[in-house]
Amino acid sequence: MSEHDHHHHDHDHSELSETELRVRALESILTEKGYVEAAALDAIVQAYETKIGPHNGAKVVAKAWTDSAFKKALLEDASKAVGTLGHVSRVGDHLVAIENTPGRHNMVVCTLCSCYPWEMLGLPPVWYKASPYRSRAVKDPRGVLADFGVSLPKETEIRVWDSTAETRFLVLPMRPAGTEGWSEEQLTELVTRDSMIGTGFPRTPGAPS
């Protein structure tokens, strides 16, 4: 597990960095040994780039806003409920949906690494995986929310879910006011990634996206 000093700077963009060289070398080793097909690595990257993302979670949230039976099923067993939606990518086990209410706001973190509901939200953003969020979310969630420009009434309970096992959490944000009669498709457009992590709210009708 030796680690070379890698404090070297990008002095020339035409030159590969130490990290890039190391990645290329490892890829050569793994493919030459016959462990992985090079084409399969390309296909994995392509699958992540095209198949997963917050659009999957947004569909689930919009459905829950418009269909109370689905919402009930989602809160009881999210993996099972999402599995009934043909248009959403396949979901794994142990997904848990947690509902925001006027009295309680939910927020999700992984203090130990970077656990995140990939099938619902895609790969996590850098801030989710970085030290400031991981260290502060459990101790000072209001301060963290302020970093996102989010403030909550001081009496609102803030529940932080630390993803310490293979359960994965999806926040079901509150449906924005002024969306009465909106279709599921219209509502989907209001659901942001951060509103499903608990570090933001859905867009409000008429606000720029």
């Binding site: 080793i29 462990y35 992985v36 399969a40 953003p125 030290s131 400031p132 260290s135 310490t164 359960t167």
Partner: protein, 219 residues
């Protein structure tokens, strides 16, 4: 292990800085590292708990100063070296010079992609009845395993309430060391902010972890 990865409650890391319109990958090599980790894991070279453990065992100064995917790269290299899938000579040469080792699930090919786009299953049959139920008050044990654990330091010794159980799951503490799955009951346990952070803490905060049964004791 009591590593720097266990950062819940630490101070001094500064503000959270969201990036507007963040790309999925900031550099192309990051996507290659992700793909190699996923492929080698699916081929049976290691499980997810071992891959986490190898990132945690990076030297603290390296862990804190490396980007996310750089940590993945360093952890992957160390893991493959330790398990004998690659050799130091391979790494020094930048290509394969030593014989390959058989993989549990064989070569990872494009036919395997679908399989890895759905999460693995971690639920297992219960070897024994659950010790706790929703509503029970429990204490997170004051334990400090030197190897992989998913019991964060900031809850150890503190009292919380069991909120739900998730059935029995693979136990990361043993799975990470190739010591078997030893399925354990898994519970969401909720702690009051003041229990964790003292009387001056914001009284509206509640924090939960998902705790395996061996992490908990009845009170």
């Amino acid at each position: 292990m009591n590593g720097v990865h266990d950062m819940g409650g630490m101070d001094g890391f500064g503000k959270v800085e969201p990036e507007l319109n963040e790309p999925m990958f900031h550099e192309e090599w990051e996507s290659r590292v992700l793909a190699m980790v996923r492929a080698m894991g699916a081929a049976g070279a290691f499980n997810i708990d071992a891959s986490r453990f190898y990132r945690e065992t990076l030297p603290p100064q390296v862990y804190l100063s490396s980007s996310y995917y750089r940590k993945w790269l360093l952890g992957l290299e160390a893991l493959l070296l330790d398990k004998g899938y690659i050799s130091k000579d391979d790494v020094a040469a930048g290509h394969s010079v030593a014989p390959a080792k058989a993989l549990k699930h064989g070569k990872f090919s494009t036919a395997d992609i679908e399989r890895i786009m759905v999460r693995g299953k971690f639920g297992r049959a219960a070897p024994a009845a659950a010790k706790f139920k929703a509503g029970d008050r429990v204490r997170a044990k004051n334990i400090h395993p030197a190897t992989h654990t998913r019991l964060p330091r900031y809850v150890r010794g503190h009292v919380g309430v069991v909120e739900r159980d998730h059935g029995c799951h693979v136990f990361p503490d043993t799975a990470a060391n190739d010591a078997g799955e030893h399925p354990q009951w898994l519970y969401t346990v909720v702690f009051d902010g003041r229990e964790l952070w003292g009387p001056d803490s914001d009284p509206t905060i509640k924090v939960s972890i998902d705790a395996f049964e061996p992490y908990l004791e009845a009170i």
